[in-house]
Symmetry: C2
Subunit: 227 residues, 2 copies
DNA sequence: CGCAGTGGACTAGCCCGTCCAGTCCATTTA
DNA sequence: TAAATGGACTGGACGGGCTAGTCCACTGCG
C-alpha cells in the first residue's frame, strides 16, 4: 500500500506514468493529421510517424483511435478558445472586467465596426475553420464531440457585446430594448457569410468584403436603435 | 454505319444502354447511404444491396465510387433545389413572376415574418441539412463538389426578398437604401442560429425559438428602415 | 533494476474494383 | 411461330491494398 501522495514512483526509475512530452507530441500530430485528413482517412501509423513516436506508445497513451480523436479535438478546441480570450484583450481581461470598457469610447457605429472586425478575425482563423469542418463532419458518429460545440463559439463575445450595448443604451446614446438579443443579431449579421464560405472552403472573404459586411451591420443596428 | 437517329440498338435485343430505372434506384440508395454514413464508411456493396442491384451493375452505371458519389450529391442537391421553388409557390411561380407579389399584401412586418418562417422551413429540412453536412465534410477532398454549393443556397430567396423590399420602398412604406443588402441581412439574421444547430446536429430549433428569431429580425428591419 | 519507449512483425477485417459463368428478355431472323 | 441473338443484369468469388490493434524482443535511462 502506498502512503505518500506524490506522483507514483517505483523503487527506482524515472517518475512513473507516460511521459507528458510524448503525450503532447502525439496530440499535436493527431490534431494536424485529423484536421488534414478527417477521421477515417487519418491513420494511426501516420500520426505516430509524424509525432516521431512508436505506434505502441500512441496506444499506451490513448487506448484507441476514437479516444485519441476526442482528445485531439478537445486540445484544438482549447487552443482556439484561448485565442478568443487571450488574443482579444478588449473582450475579457484576465479578471474578466479590466478591459470591459475598451470599446466604450467613440461613437456606437465605430465601436460596432471595430468589434465586428475582431469577431470575423477570430472566427475565420484557418485552424478554427478546419476544426469546425472536422467536428461537423464527425459529430454525428462521435457523440462525445457534442459538448465541444454545443455552447456555440461566440458566446463570450456576444455576452460582452450585450453589455456594451446596455451601457450605451443607459447612457442614452442608443435605445436598445433587449441588448442580449441585439448582440446576437449583430454577431449573426457579421458572421453569416464568412462562416458559409469557410465551411465550404471557398475563397476566404476578402478584407473589403468583410469590411462591407460589418459596416452595413453596424449601420443597421445604429439606424434601428437610434434613440 | 447507322442511319436512323433513334436510340442505339443492335441487330437484336432491347433498346441499348443501361436501364434508367436501375440507375435511379442506385442513385437513391447511394444518396441514402452516403447521407447516413459519409463517403468513407459508405460501402459500394451496401449501396448495391440497398438498391436491390448487383455490384457490377453499379460499376456499369457509374464507373467508380467517386463518380457515384458526385452523381448522388448532385441528385440530392437538385431535389432540395426543386423543393425551394416548387414547394414555395410565393417565391417563384412556374413562369418566374406569377406569384411575385404574393407577399406584397399586409404590412411589412407581417410579410417579413411570413417570409422568414418559410426560409427557415426550407433551410432546416432534415435532408437538406444532412446534405449540407456531407458536402462540408467532403468538399475538401472532392473538388468536383465545389460548384454544388458555391452559389449559396438561398440566392433565389434573397433575390425575391430584395424585390419585395424595393417595391415597398418605392411605395413609401419603407425606406430601404440598398434592398439587396437588406435582403442579405434579413436572411442572415433569420438563418444563422438554425444553420448552426443543424450543422452540429444538436436539437433542431423549436418552433417558438424560430418564431422569436424571425420576429425580432423583422422588427429590426422595420425599425431601421421606417420611412 | 524497472519501466517507458521502440520497431517491426503479425492478425484479422474491411472494401474497392474486377472477373466470370450463367439468367433474362426484347427483338430480329428463319 | 419458334429459334437465335446480344446486351443488361446477377451473384458470388477473389486479388490487392490498407488499417486497427496486438505482441514481443530489445533498448536506454534514471
Amino acid at each position: 500500500m502506498r502512503t505518500d501522495s506524490g506522483p507514483r514512483r517505483s523503487a527506482a526509475g524515472r517518475p512513473a506514468g507516460p511521459q507528458p512530452a510524448k503525450r503532447q507530441a502525439i496530440l499535436e500530430a493527431a490534431v494536424a493529421v485529423f484536421l488534414r485528413e478527417g477521421y477515417n482517412r487519418a491513420s494511426v501509423d501516420v500520426i505516430a510517424d509524424e509525432a516521431r513516436v512508436s505506434k505502441q506508445t500512441v496506444y499506451n497513451h490513448f487506448g484507441d483511435k476514437e479516444r485519441l480523436f476526442i482528445a485531439a479535438v478537445e486540445e484544438e478546441r482549447e487552443r482556439v478558445a484561448a485565442g478568443f480570450a487571450a488574443g482579444s484583450p478588449y473582450v475579457l481581461g484576465p479578471d474578466g472586467a479590466a478591459n470591459a470598457e475598451a470599446y466604450d469610447g467613440g461613437d456606437a457605429r465605430a465601436a460596432l465596426i471595430a468589434f465586428g472586425h475582431r469577431v470575423l478575425a477570430v472566427l475565420l482563423d484557418e485552424r478554427a475553420s478546419a476544426l469546425r469542418r472536422l467536428v461537423i463532419a464527425e459529430v454525428a458518429r462521435h457523440p462525445s464531440l457534442r459538448p465541444a460545440c454545443a455552447e456555440g463559439e461566440p458566446q463570450q463575445l456576444v455576452k460582452y457585446l450585450a453589455e456594451m450595448l446596455g451601457r450605451r443604451s443607459s447612457r442614452g446614446e442608443l435605445s436598445v430594448p433587449d441588448p442580449a438579443a441585439a448582440a446576437h443579431q449583430f454577431v449573426a449579421l457579421v458572421v453569416q457569410q464568412g462562416l458559409y464560405q469557410s465551411m465550404y472552403g471557398t475563397r476566404p472573404l476578402a478584407d473589403d468584403e468583410a469590411a462591407a459586411i460589418y459596416e452595413s451591420a453596424a449601420d443597421l443596428l445604429v439606424r434601428a436603435y437610434r434613440p
